[in-house]
Symmetry: C2
Subunit: 195 residues, 2 copies
DNA sequence: TATTGATTTGAACGCTTGTTCAGTTAAACC
DNA sequence: GGTTTAACTGAACAAGCGTTCAAATCAATA
């Protein structure tokens, strides 16, 4: 058994994923060919099939890994003492997490329709799980009497849309720091649901 | 000069635009071929070139017409007596206008990167014009002392993202009426910026 | 009815697509 | 140094791409 270690696949594998991530985020799934991904890696198109069964899997695995990262990172946060602190934690976490992964976030929002129905269902379930966590926080705040929210499901969508929107305009090298942006959004989110 | 009236182009022209709108919204610009658009219209691919110089123009004209409709509709609204009423008017207008044009809105947000740089710049300018109107309302509210907004530009992006997000989940046949949704969002928007 | 010209067809152009696979290369083991 | 085999190449496949254009079609005018 030759070359069980030091094999190129240890290097090429991640490079394929990285190239796919960057190119799809930039040009869109349909506009990126396997040959372009291969060229970015410095390899012929056929070699990609040592690392992915097909193009669809490349997209799905990018999105699944991203959503799994999101759920795992979120689960590792400490419990919050009350609903207000939980909402603040969620708000800051969401902005910070997403702003550090612009390519993944872009793909996760733009390329849903390029997933097969089965893959779409799996990603959608993870998204619903995440949104459910925010909804639970809002309901908890209503019970505690600190939030006034007529429709927790609608408020959840409103807050998530607002927070995810940061990625459309925030730039690391811009006028405002991410900390400053966090403050502004937390202030708006808090006020939008406070009783 | 034969057939100056009753020409088929009066009918086929709009049908090409409609087919392109529907197909691009559903599958994305890159995934929709001229042959698919032609098939939807019931014509051969070559015939499309009587109605558009190329595929890119089809996309651009859809987006430009949509943004122009938006700016025109917005301009036709009566002046508001104060900043709070102006913000309420903007909020309700945005939700109503966008919810009635899901395909156009979807394309306007998803297909920006498939525009040529020149066309992108033209669409982006129209978008900035629209966003500038909301920003002006927020600044007016700060001057009137009714709004507390640290960063009007950021608050503008936050509110627009929140409102446009309605299109991702609202369904005509769903549990909530559009009027009810309008109320919920106006309540949240108002609270998020009220002093 | 004959003519006109807008409209559409259907084939063709060169190029790209995702995927497969026999054959080549080269690194790590014995 | 010879053997093994993972990794990769390069060509091929059938299909589809945007676009062009000579020829055919056909409705309205004269």
């Amino acid at each position: 058994m030759a070359r069980t270690q030091g094999s190129h696949s240890d290097i090429t594998g991640p490079r394929v994923r990285d190239a796919a991530l960057r190119l799809i985020a930039q040009h869109g799934y349909a506009a990126v060919s396997m040959r372009k991904i291969a060229a970015e890696v410095g390899v012929q198109a056929g070699a990609l099939y040592n690392y992915t069964p097909d193009k669809q899997s490349l997209l799905f695995e990018i999105m699944q890994a991203h959503m799994q990262d999101l759920l795992t990172a979120r689960a590792s946060l400490p419990d919050a003492a009350d609903a207000v602190r939980a909402l603040e934690q969620f708000t800051r976490f969401h902005i910070r997490f997403h702003s550090r992964r612009p390519a993944e976030v872009f793909i996760a929002y733009m390329e849903l329709r390029n997933l097969t129905p089965e893959n779409f269902a799996r990603i959608e379930e993870m998204r619903r799980t995440y949104e459910g966590q925010l909804e639970a926080i809002l309901r908890r705040g209503v019970e505690e009497g600190v939030f006034r929210v007529a429709e927790p499901k609608v408020a959840t969508m409103a807050v998530i849309a607002m927070l995810t929107g940061v990625n459309t305009w925030f730039r690391e090298e811009g006028r405002l720091s991410l900390d400053a942006v966090e403050e502004i959004y937390w202030d708006m989110v808090r006020r939008s649901v406070t009783a």
